[in-house]
Subunit: 197 residues, 2 copies
DNA sequence: CTAGTTCCGGACCGATCGGTCAAATACAAG
DNA sequence: CTTGTATTTGACCGATCGGTCCGGAACTAG
């Protein structure tokens, strides 16, 4: 190690994430990334490889963080599994600041744009979805143990259903659908799980 | 009208749809479109305007066709509303030829790629989703009238829930998730609607 | 047939794309 | 201070981008 790097790799990845998130992969140019990260073309290339490799790094970090965030949200020691599930769907149904346009999950956008042509993206998406399904299933089972969800429901099937609703809510958010639609979907999904409001 | 056109507008739009569908908007070049349609750059430009205008024409046609297809599928005079709903979710849960990679709905891909930056796309997506929700609601009400769905369910809420599940299944399909996951989601969604298998 | 109009094909445009490279620079090691 | 190595910077590359334009072809009207 001779000349030390002037940048923080994590910070650069955060900036790059922001850029890809806003514009998508194809619509983000190297110039955009240079502007966002403050790095020169050469540095960017030397540190992360080409545009696609950088994107995969970004996507990987995003998926890891998203799964960790969900795990933290669902595994809070406080409250019951049922309450945590309800809270999760509540948050997902809440469109943020009405002035700022809602920005859907990077994973959803990336999957739609690239999964069909890039196996790496598809694989990462499947991994993440499977992880999320597992987290949901654990909470469903927890809620069943607590008596909040009928014991005769198939936990795995219920989790897959909740996963589909979550991804569907994401898709509806992308289009800017009214929040009431999202709320309906969330409420009905929880009802089908046996969690009435 | 002096020199007649050598091409069929509908046929060209079909080819263009195929191309955009496969690659997305940004990743489709004018050369790709020329190759797919057989038209020269000038003809393409003269007939449809620039790339974005052509894309919007394509998306518009796709949404119209998709809504019409769904309407036809859900309004068949044969069978009951409940059976038609079940059949719809069955089809959506069925990934086609396992060798050919599943190709998700063009609307879903376009919304993910462009809705955040292109208001026209977002509007068209909202319109289409709203239309689909309306069709679903009508069937839910039909099934309620026939006694296949409990009358105490809110039809609108149930329809929004089914819409979210459909879009979620689309998102999971994009990633190539296992068909069993889709089936779980579909089954559970119908169960919540009061339609047991 | 001629005149007028529309359409086709592709050469051409400047801009921008992703990616490379060499010279300048900044540090650690000795 | 000298040497060696790693990093930075930005000029530069060929390819390709979306879009324009024009000469010739194909047709209708008269």
């Amino acid at each position: 190690m001779a000349r030390p790097r002037k940048f923080d790799e994590q910070q650069v990845l955060r900036s790059a994430t922001e850029t890809f998130w806003t514009s998508g992969f194809a619509a983000t140019s190297l110039d955009d990334l240079m502007r966002a990260t403050g790095l020169g073309k050469g540095s960017l290339y030397g540190a992360f490889g080409d545009k696609q490799a950088l994107f995969l790094r970004v996507l990987d970090g995003y998926c890891t963080d998203a799964a960790a965030g969900l795990r933290a949200r669902l595994s809070g020691p406080e409250s019951s599994s049922a309450e945590r599930l309800r809270a999760l769907f509540d948050v997902m149904a809440t469109v943020g600041d009405p002035s700022a346009p809602p920005r859907a999950c990077l994973l959803a956008k990336s999957t739609a744009e690239l999964a069909a042509t890039n196996p790496d993206v598809a694989t990462r998406a499947r991994q993440t979805f499977t992880t999320i399904a597992g987290l949901l299933q654990a909470e469903v089972e927890g809620a069943q143990a607590a008596g909040d969800i009928p014991a005769d429901r198939d936990a795995r099937r219920t989790a897959h259903h909740l996963l589909a609703v979550l991804r569907g809510m994401e898709a509806l958010t992308e289009a800017g659908m009214d929040e009431s639609v999202l709320r309906d979907a969330a409420d009905a999904a929880l009802a089908v799980a046996g969690l009435s409001r």
